[in-house]
């Protein structure tokens, strides 16, 4: 028996967690235990669902079911003409949650904003290493320590971010989970008590739900935050029932043991759709799976070889076999639901004969190569091995001998980055903030060679376009630049674009107000349940 659990239990009783008979409980069969409850420390959607979107708010928020930004804790903002100063006017009278472990004495102010960012940005901040091995991966990954010169409190309700350079996706970045706003007063209390690590175990913010208790691998419980600035939630209690096996989640949903489940097995979707008590929402995910050639190596430095291989792949067959239709073949490196997607680009047609001819022209008629297949299932590619086998057969049909290789996941991720890597790597990406920059520059920019750019592809024309778009604030102009960049990408074919997968969300018909989120997180604000 540990003290934390007792404390949590007591907290629950103290809060008067309404019992089942009289309260509206929404039970969500979640897919895994969260890694922790401080969204700055982690990168997984499971953790964001459990902390970022329930307990916390951000200065700006994504609109429900969209990648568009709307005011959050900041009611409005101004951007300087040169795009390097963002002044946020904070919402007044925003209350932090009251729990048994913390009672706020003040409302939300600029101090909380400064604290929430500085702990991630400054190595000398006392909270920068409040837990062992704190990595702040998202803040680092989005380049915040280099980008942000300072975060300044102007007055209690005004805060100014000064950037080192203009950065168009900055507002979208601030809507991401790692930019969640914590309570400085709570942090001070934890520090004074010598238990800063509880920040990652007992989260406290301004969000729609108040954290009540977490039992590892079993459940997480929340109550509706009674003083939530946007109004109290229609449900009283939100419960995450942690259920790691997808088939078991489906059985629980059918048996009425939970109301919503994420990530069903492709094979279960049909039977879930047939259940008269259930509804299945579906939406194209903000993701892509690709096969990245190593464009630094012969003969893959020749665009004709890459084009020929792209023409040899029967993508529809992969979509049918691996996703049972729950995906669409990908044409561009960004998904069709993202702004600036270039609809005018036609895919390389599946044409083995033409591919053979093109390979012969390039002097690579008897090519042999490696296809790397991920050892794990990812939302954008459920079964990489199966997809690799299909491609292997497709390549064989045009005279290319392909060997399938795989490594343990961590090893796969690190080896695939190497510029002298042998073979084409299958991998994918799920968007972080809905900005095309998060795909085009992150995955294909020259700076990402040896890192996220698995094709090791540095094309000056492409790079100039996306770099210019990054510092341009006018969205129409950015759209044009990204559309052109996609034309260059398609012409140069550093990847075979494979698929964009569809995300299913099966739930009870009693559930209303749930919107699928293109960024893949699961939000329960605004969700109601008919009893």
């Amino acid at each position: 028996m540990n003290k934390t659990a007792l404390l949590i239990g007591a907290a629950c009783l103290g809060l008067g967690l309404a019992t089942a008979a009289e309260a509206k409980n929404l039970i969500y069969c979640s897919e895994a235990s969260p890694e922790g409850f401080d969204p700055g420390l982690y990168t997984s959607g499971t953790t964001f669902d459990a902390a970022g979107r329930t307990v916390y708010n951000r200065l700006v928020e994504f609109k429900h079911g969209s990648t568009e930004i709307e005011p959050g804790l900041a009611a409005s903002w101004d951007v300087s003409d040169d795009g390097t100063e963002y002044t946020f006017h904070l919402r007044p009278d925003v209350k932090f949650q009251t729990t048994d472990f913390f009672t706020p004495t003040r409302t939300f102010t600029a101090d909380d904003v400064v604290f929430s960012f500085e702990r991630q940005l400054k190595a000398d901040n006392p909270w920068n290493k409040y837990v062992e091995g704190a990595a702040w991966e998202y803040s680092d990954g989005m380049g915040f320590p280099d980008l942000i010169k300072s975060v300044e409190k102007v007055d209690d309700l005004t805060v100014k971010f000064v950037l080192n350079r203009p950065e168009a996706p900055f507002l979208a970045d601030l809507g991401m989970d790692f930019a969640s706003i914590l309570s400085k007063e709570y942090a001070d209390q934890l520090k004074a008590a010598g238990t800063p690590e509880l920040m990652n175990q007992q989260p406290l913010g301004t969000g729609p739900f108040t954290f009540v208790a977490y039992q590892p691998d079993a459940q997480i419980r929340y109550t509706a935050h009674p003083d939530y600035w946007a109004g109290k939630q229609p449900i009283d209690n939100l419960i995450f029932a942690i259920t790691t096996d997808a088939s078991v989640r489906a059985q629980k949903l059918k048996a009425g043991e939970c109301h919503i489940m994420p990530y069903p097995n492709a094979a279960d979707v049909a039977s879930l759709k047939e259940d008269p008590n259930l509804q299945v929402l579906e939406q194209e995910g903000l993701n892509i799976a690709y096969l990245a050639y190593n464009t630094m190596q012969k003969p893959f430095d020749d665009v004709r070889v890459r084009k020929a291989l792209n023409m040899a792949i029967n993508k529809q067959a992969i979509v049918d076999a691996v996703f049972q239709g729950a995906a669409t073949p990908a044409i561009n490196p960004i998904p069709p639901t993202m702004w600036s997607y270039n609809k005018d680009i036609a895919d390389d047609s599946y044409d083995p004969e033409a591919a053979k001819k093109l390979l012969a022209d390039a002097g690579a008629a008897d090519l042999s190569m490696k296809i790397w297949a991920m050892p794990v299932s990812r939302p954008y590619m459920l079964n990489a091995r199966r997809a690799a086998e299909l491609m292997q057969a497709d390549f064989a049909a045009v005279g290319v001998t392909a060997e399938i290789v795989t490594y343990e996941w961590g090893e796969y991720l690190s080896r695939s980055k190497e510029t002298d890597r042998d073979g084409a790597v299958m991998l994918g990406w799920t968007g972080d903030n809905g900005d095309p920059d998060n795909f085009l520059d992150t995955l294909l920019g020259c700076d990402a060679v040896g890192g996220n750019n698995r094709a090791q592809w540095c094309n000056q024309e492409f790079d100039d376009l996306v770099s210019k778009a990054k510092v341009t604030s006018d969205q129409a102009e950015r759209t044009q630049l990204y559309e052109q960049a996609q034309v260059v990408f398609k012409r140069e074919a550093p990847w075979a674009t494979l698929d964009h997968s569809v995300q299913y969300m099966p739930m009870s018909k009693k559930v209303t107000g749930f919107h699928q989120d293109p960024l893949g997180v699961h939000r329960f604000d605004g969700v109601d349940i008919a009893e």
Binding site: G36, G141, A241, V248, G410
Partner: protein, 335 residues
């Protein structure tokens, strides 16, 4: 008896040291490290990666790392998870009662059905009953746990609706854990229906986890009984005119129990291994699932600490079995 226990404990010390070395070394033989796996597709710069590894002390020579790990163990410090940042011992103590409760329930099923079934099969050797018991035992032994669990869920929970699908208790009930054993805590909570809910949640996973030990125990009991039933003293007892129930139940069974107790003791290791799959299927928050997750995440402190704690548990079970032998068989006690 005290001497026996002390002698056995002395043997456990090198075993313990061996376990710490294995736990420490094996996880480092695996490719990948926890920081790399945490960042997934999102690439962390090599400098940042090195910095975090340094903060965690994973850039020190292995022997130094092992020394500080062993030093921690001696003082009862099992370290904290790289992923969740929670202390390993705290998580183990939270999750272990769930595994223990499930294992005990599984063992209860295995023993109460397995021993009588084995005895019956031995007494009625060659009969249809014998063949039926042994066939069922073989099937039980060969059953893949994952498949068997899902089958039971689909039939009893999905089709018949008799048992809940997964979890330890209905989410309607929520009370702070006191002992960690849901059956006891549900009674302590005083909430109406909580105990019944806990029992109903335990039935299917206990059956699934108990299936293989049941089969093993039934087969072992049968063969041990057959051997004993052929002994002279049993014939003598029968010749004396003792009632058959007394001959089988007292004279034969007690002597047949020595190998059966060994088997039951050995099942402790199996139960922990089987718990990994059973806990995953039934969303049972125990240490099996916790360990597997930590291996996938290369969470060094959890794997090291978890393995050592599990090894200690198994060593204690073996010690208990040794002591039980002594009680059953005086020759061992005095040997």
């Amino acid at each position: 008896m005290v001497r026996l226990i002390l002698a056995r404990l002395a043997v456990l010390i090198p075993t313990f040291v061996g376990v710490t070395i294995i736990a420490f070394a094996f996880i480092r033989l695996l490719p990948g490290d926890p920081i790399q796996l945490l960042s997934g597709e999102r690439v962390m710069s090599p400098e940042r990666h090195a910095e975090v590894m340094h903060d965690l002390g994973y850039d020190r020579p292995l022997i130094v790392q092992y020394g500080s790990y062993l030093g921690g163990l001696v003082t009862g410090d099992f370290g904290s998870s790289v992923v969740t940042k929670r202390p390993v011992l705290q998580d183990f103590l939270t999750l272990f009662p769930a595994t223990l409760e499930l294992s005990l329930a599984a063992m209860l099923i295995a023993v109460t059905i397995g021993i009588p079934a084995g005895v019956l099969a031995a007494v009625k050797r060659g009969s249809i009953l014998d063949q039926a018991v042994m066939s069922v035992a073989l099937i039980g032994y060969s059953m893949p746990i994952f498949w068997w669990g899902l089958l039971l869920i689909i039939f009893f929970s999905g089709y018949l609706g008799w048992t809940p699908v997964s979890g330890r208790i209905s989410l309607v009930y929520f009370f702070p854990p006191v002992t960690g054993f849901m059956l006891i805590d549900s009674l302590l909570s005083g909430e109406k229906g909580a105990f019944a809910s806990a029992v109903s949640h335990l039935i299917l996973p206990a059956i699934v986890l108990g299936t293989i030990p049941l089969a093993v125990i039934a087969r072992q009991t049968r063969s041990a009984m057959l051997e004993v039933l052929g002994e002279d003293y049993v014939r003598t007892a029968r010749a004396k005119g003792l009632p058959p129930l007394l001959v089988v139940g007292v004279h034969a069974l007690r002597n047949a129990m020595v190998p059966v107790v060994t088997t039951i003791g050995l099942q402790a290791g199996y139960l922990l291994a089987g718990a990994i799959l059973t806990e995953t299927i039934f969303s049972w928050p125990g240490i099996g699932k916790w360990m597997v997750d930590s291996v996938f995440k290369r969470d060094y402190p959890v794997i090291q600490g978890g393995l050592v704690l599990i090894a200690i548990t198994i060593m204690m079970v073996n010690l208990l079995v040794d002591v039980l032998y002594g009680l059953i068989n005086p020759r061992i006690r005095h040997g």
